[in-house]
């Protein structure tokens, strides 16, 4: 039989684009973009200082008066981290890192809980239009209630049911989960419905049942959407944990530090700013972990990567 295929000069190897080896090659652009991000940070710091310098010279009063209290020097905020937190006490950065680790534990537990819950809800809702119509409005409504308003109730409901060792921060994790699940549900729902209709026909031609179509097609198809949601949810989980600590009267986390330094803002504004830097860094860390996981797990055409 004539293999006409090979009579043509264009070999299959020439047609194919070279194999991309994402992980090794991806490292260099990743470093470059990290470097660029640092550059942007430096520029922002310079802008801050420039505005402060100008504002003080011009005695700006709008939108707010510029002085050492409203806008401390960037180097003072960072420097404050390496000052003792109180007389003869440990360095502020040690105190804040301990607080950050404490909050991170709540946030991580909340994130995992919320993501799993959000994903599960999305899967259930995607399988039934009726459920979707009935429940979606309330899922949206759940996010319109200020977290501060429901946090005390969550603490009262959840804490007594948890083992002693996690009773304190367990309730905070639940509050954090409450903020996490929403974007995951909404995006995953969209993602589960994003599968190509012909891909669904294909699955039906393999006699796939609903379950098979869900796990082999809809769920993997939803991953880019899921990870977009997780990247939104990860920093939100940190915020949720911090806010959850407030009504739970938990002193060991970042919320305790924020409350504390709020009270001393007049005398030492740098301490609160320094705390904010640590809180922001924690949120960024959460985001970076998820973004890294996405790089490893989601295989898509380069143009389709969110």
């Amino acid at each position: 039989m004539g293999r006409v295929w090979y009579e043509l000069p264009m070999s299959t190897a020439a047609v194919a684009r070279p194999v991309v080896e994402p992980r090794r090659d991806a490292l260099r652009p990743a470093l470059r973009s990290a470097g660029f991000s640092l550059l942007v940070l430096a520029v922002l710091c310079v802008l801050w200082e420039a505005y402060k310098w100008l504002g003080e010279r011009l005695e700006l009063t709008r939108p707010f008066p510029v002085n050492g209290r409203t806008m401390p020097h960037v180097y003072d905020m960072v420097g404050q981290l390496f000052e003792p937190s109180r007389r003869n006490g440990p360095l502020l950065i040690d105190v804040l890192l301990d607080a950050a680790v404490f909050t991170a534990r709540e946030a991580a537990a909340g994130f995992v809980l919320g993501a799993a819950f959000g994903f599960a809800i999305a899967v259930v809702l995607s399988e039934s239009r009726l459920l979707q119509r009935g429940f979606l409005p309330y899922i949206v409504a759940s996010q319109t209630i200020p977290i501060l308003a429901i946090a005390p109730m969550v603490v009262i409901w959840v804490s007594p049911k948890l083992p002693e060792s996690i009773a304190g921060w367990g309730a905070v994790a639940v509050i954090s989960a409450y903020l996490t699940f929403f974007p995951v549900t909404i995006n995953t729902l969209r993602g589960l419905q994003s599968a190509d209709p012909r891909a669904v026909e294909l699955m039906r031609s393999y006699a796939a049942a609903r379950w098979g179509i869900l796990w082999k097609l809809r769920v993997p198809a939803s991953f880019p959407y899921l990870f977009t949601a997780l990247k939104i949810a990860a920093p939100a989980a940190v915020v949720g944990a911090i806010i959850g600590e407030l009504p739970s009267s938990i002193q060991d986390g970042l919320a305790g530090a924020i409350l504390n330094f709020n009270q001393y803002y007049i005398t030492s504004p740098e301490s609160l700013w320094a705390t904010n830097i640590v809180a922001a860094a924690l949120g960024i860390l959460f985001f970076v972990v998820i973004a890294g996981a996405e790089r490893l797990l989601v295989r898509r055409a380069p143009e389709n990567v969110a």
Binding site: V4, T12, R17, E201, S205, Y206
Partner: protein, 276 residues
């Protein structure tokens, strides 16, 4: 017409009316496809040829009439995985490598890993894609993607292959290569093919029979038996009867257009093999 039991596909008095707009997509279609045949469905857009293919595959239900695949109801045939299907786009799963894409139907059919791997290796050889096992779909050209899609459709050795304009999105050169390739695979696997196309030359080159359809409502305007030597080769296109068959199909298509005006008692015209 031959007995239904031995037919690969048997369509009897089939009509499809789409609820929306009350369109009669298919009007009383009768068609028999024998095992091992390569039958093309050709016709203008909207003649229902893709709809007919999907009804044979039990992906949509007919409004009236019966479809038997391998002597079973189309529904049972789908549940028994009696056919493989190939669309105009490869419809590969981005998150799966070439190997895993081809193995998908085997996974669904519950094959164990070893059997799957052995089978996928065979399929890669069949479509001449060995060496691309670990590639992801987006790293392949359009023609290669479509070959993966064909390998996937054939991986579980279905007796019937349904193809919906599989090469419609490819350039002319690639398309001709794919045509040759498909014929080679068809002869190696001895499967039955029902092939939807827009291209007259493609339908004549590939098929043992060409079913010409007319649009609105979708009907069979006529069937052309293709009397060209097997196996077909690039020289087949230079065979004197190749041009004659193309003319026949083209005439039927034109006649199909005249059918646009509703005619109640139009019976399909069968062109005899020797009547050239």
């Amino acid at each position: 017409m031959s007995t239904t039991a031995s037919s690969a596909v048997s369509v009897t008095d089939l009509s499809k009316r789409f609820e929306r707009g009350d369109v009669l997509a298919l009007d009383r279609i009768d068609l028999e496809v024998q095992p091992g045949e390569f039958v093309s469905l050709i016709g203008p857009s909207g003649c229902g040829k893709s709809t007919l293919l999907r009804i044979i595959g039990d992906l949509i239900r007919p409004s009236e009439g019966d479809v038997l695949v391998n002597g079973k109801s189309a529904h049972q045939a789908r549940l028994d995985r009696d056919y493989g299907i190939v669309f105009q786009d490869a419809v590969l799963y981005d998150w799966r490598t070439v190997v895993k894409n081809i193995a998908l139907p085997l996974e669904m059919a519950g094959w164990d890993k070893q059997r799957r791997e052995a089978r996928v290796r065979e399929m890669l050889e069949l479509v001449e894609l060995s060496g691309f096992e670990k590639h992801h779909p987006w790293q392949l050209s359009g023609g290669m993607q479509q070959r993966v899609s064909i390998a996937r459709a054939l991986s579980f050795s279905p007796a019937l292959l349904l193809m919906d304009e599989p090469f419609g999105a490819l350039d002319e050169m690639t398309r001709e290569r794919m045509n040759n390739e498909l014929l080679r695979i068809w002869q190696e696997t001895r499967s039955t093919v029902v092939f939807v196309t827009h291209s007259i030359a493609e339908s004549v080159f590939l098929s043992t029979r060409v079913v010409v359809m007319s649009a609105r409502p979708g009907r069979i305007a006529g069937i052309v038996e293709i009397d060209l030597p097997q196996p077909r080769s690039p020289e087949t296109r230079e065979h004197p009867r190749f041009a004659e068959h193309i003319t026949q199909v083209r005439r039927l298509l034109r006649k199909g257009h005249a059918l646009d005006a509703p005619e109640e008692d139009e019976t399909p015209l069968y062109v005899a093999e020797e009547g050239l």
